[in-house]
Each structure stands twice: as C-alpha cells, then as structure tokens.
Symmetry: D2
Subunit: 138 residues, 4 copies
C-alpha cells in the first residue's frame, strides 16, 4: 500500500457540511499520481505519447469527511493486464474508514485531435510501480 | 428514463483534452436533481431536515467527452428500498455511448454538527419520482 | 449585453450553504464561451493554433447564490486592443445583483509543450463578437 | 508573508495543458486557511456562528502553472478594518512569478437559512493572524 496524506479544503465541501462525494475520485487520483511520482514516473510523460484514460471507477462511502479533516488515501496496484492497471483505494481519517474504491485505467497512444489507440502497458511501468509499493510499505 | 441535456464547459476538461473522469459523477448528480425538480421535489428541502448522502457510486467509461460537446444524461430509479434509492444513468452524445453509471443514496435525518441518523425514505418521494419518470418517458 | 442563464448545482455550494466564491469565475467563463458560440466561434478552434489565456480576472460580490437558484450572467465586450479582449460581467438572480466582474484575455499562438507566443487578435473575432452582441441585445 | 506549498493536480488542468485560471482563487483560499490554522484559528469555528464571505477577489496572471508543478503561495494580511480583512497573495514556482492576487472578506453572523448579518471582526482574530505571520516570516 502506498500512502498519501491530504487535508480537506473548504471548496471541497458542499451545503450538507461534508465533502462532496465526487471528490473521493479526485482524492484517489491524487494518491495514484503520487505513487507514480514515488516510482520515478508521471502519467504525463511528454515524449511517450501515452495516456491513461479510465475504464471504470467506483467508490463505497462509509463515513463523511469534513472541512480541515486530515485523511489518508492508501492505494495498491490490485492487478495489471496487458492493457490495463487496476488500483484499489482505502480512504481513512485516523481509525475511521471513509470508504473504499477502485479505478481501472488503460494505456493508449494519443494520436492527436483526441483520438486514442489502445496499446500495451509498458512493462517497466508495472515494475517501477511495484517497486515503489514495496519500498513504501515496509 | 428522465432526460437531462448538458454541454461540456471548458473547466471540465483536463490536459488530455477530454472531460476529466470525475465530472461524470457530477453530471449524474445534476440529472438526478433535475429529476427531483421535475417531480416537484428538492434534495434540499429546508424544513424536512432530511439529507441524501451517497452509499455508492460507479461509472463505466466507454468514450470521452470533449469541450462544447452536447450530451444527454438519462437517469432512472432502478430500485427503492425502505432506506435507499438506487439510480442508473446512461450518458450519450448523439448515438455514441459515453458510459453508464449507478448511484445509491440513503435517507438520513441531519442532527446538526454533521451527525446523520438513517431514516426511512418518505413514501411520497418515491411516488413523485416515479410519476415524474412516467410523465417524462412518454 | 449577451445573456446566459444557468442554475446553481449542488457541487457548486460549500459548507456555508452558498455557492463557493470561485465558481463566479467559472460562470463568467461559461457566459463568455456561450457568446463565442452565438458568434459562430469557439475559443478552441482546432486548426487556428490560437489560445486565449487570462491576464486578469476580478469579481465584486454583492449577494450570495444558493442551491437551485436560477441566475443570469450578462457579458459584454468592454474593450478590444490589438492583443487583448476585455469582458465585463453582471450576475443577477431576478432583480437581485449577485455581483460584477471583469476578465481580460490575450491572444496567443500555442507553440506546443505549453509555450505560448502573443499574437494579434484576429479582426474577424472582434467583429463577430460585436455582431453577436448586437443581435442578442435587441 | 505566510508560506503555503502545493503541487498541481491533474484535475486542475484544462485542455490548454495549464492550470485552469479559476483554480488560482482556490489556491489563494487554501493558503489563507493554512494561515488561520497556523494562528490556531479556523474560518469555520463551530460555536462562533461567524462566517467570512468574500467581498472581492482578483488575480493578475503572469505565467501558467502545469501538471505536477510545485509552487508557493505567499499570503499577507494587507489590511484589517472594523468589518473586513484584506489579503494579498503572490504565487510563484521557484523564481517564476505565476501571479498576484487580492481577496477581501467580511465578518458576518450566520443567522440561519443563509441570512448573514455583518458584525465586527473579533480583535483576537487579527492579533492571532498577525502573530502567526510574524512567527512564520522570520
């Protein structure tokens, strides 16, 4: 599990006084991208021509987050196929489970004007993500 | 199916040139709330003391949306239990499927300071939503 | 004045129960882009290579907006220099002034990898925007 | 000057490949609220009944921010009247100025149902903010 810490910002709350549910997906993505950086990678590698659009995303909500709460997003690489990466996330505030989620991304070659061609996930991406997860789980 | 039409705004796109994936959840919510209004209801009924937090949300992405695309969100009430409402959504741009999603909300009584107590879904809410769906599906 | 109508969405509110202040800038932008469409233009013209980054933006807040409020954004082209366009906006809900704002954009040529070179505003852009404003001000 | 460090997240970029301009206002707010925390305060003090809506906000844009950029928001309390606080912000990435902004907030008593009554800024708020600024500017 890779660990990403974050604080709830004011603009992330809604009139119910809690974090708007759609923010959980952004929190999951922030943790994923922090994992990539820990692996010496970026989802936006200028010369690679690769992109990582989502195929699916889901979240199960257990407890709300509130303004100024500090919370932790834990993310692991739950699966890697030839063309996709599957992440599983747990969000918690201290010992309180906020919820759990999954996201699946595919690797594509960006062919300009928004056209995307599915391609294989580069093997070093998976290796580096796994190595970063090992280093950070100790 | 209730039908909600929307256009992609600039701030909803990301550097990949397409709508950021987390916006799909906001689009689904906008359609849901438009359905409530069509039913003569609001998820924020000042004197009811009721709220509708999410229990789960998911989306399967099929095609991207781009800046200024006009698209349609179709939402139906796929299930209603004593304490929850389940919505199913389809997002499309003309004949192109953008993706499908689900959201489950529970009914709670807001007890202040962010405390929420689960309560039964008022029966007239389900009746009115179904009537609005019938009127709008013709 | 070009006129753009909008309804406040749930995710645009914050825990104070009103629209988060930064949304006013998105509302202003939505109106500006609707004006461009009314002029037969788009700020994202695929083959033009032009972009319109902001130079300045400001807003004076007078009254809050709340969930499900319908409101109007009125935008006019307050000035056009060789390299910039200046918009002035008024946001109101019925007879209640929500606030007033300004935005200045410059015209640039996108030279890739995020490099931008200032260029002159195409004369037909100003003409078309003014024509659209005339048509819509009746 | 109080100093707040932040990294650009993917969802904050737009199709032009840079941070969407309206995010600068959220960055300014995040720095302001971090300053309040450094002063042992919160803009959301549950029992105070006070709120801090914006009266004005502006930003002058000099250079764009891009995905994964680390940047610094510096905020100072540029003025305090009986009823308002004025902040001035500078955003920079290393030695590159991204832009400068201002925000003015007034102190109100929240009277429920979104009604707000202007009240005087508590004197200890100004003292604590100034003390935090002194401690953090050394």
């Amino acid at each position: 599990m890779f660990h990403y810490r974050r604080r709830v910002q004011f603009a992330e709350t809604d009139l119910a006084g809690i974090v708007h549910f759609a923010w959980m997906f952004r929190y999951m993505e922030e943790a994923e991208h922090a994992l990539w950086r820990a692996a010496g990678l970026s989802v936006v590698a200028p010369n690679s021509g690769l992109g990582w659009p989502r195929v699916s995303a889901s979240f199960e909500f257990r407890s709300p987050l509130r303004f100024e709460d500090e919370f932790d997003v834990r993310v692991r690489l739950a699966g890697a196929t030839r063309r996709s990466l599957r992440y599983e996330h747990t969000i918690a505030r201290g010992g309180t489970l906020i919820g759990t989620g999954t996201m699946v991304s595919v690797c594509v070659r960006d062919e300009g004007v928004g056209r995307m061609q599915p391609v294989g996930v580069p093997s070093d991406v998976v290796e580096r993500l796994r190595a970063a997860l090992d280093r950070n789980s100790g």
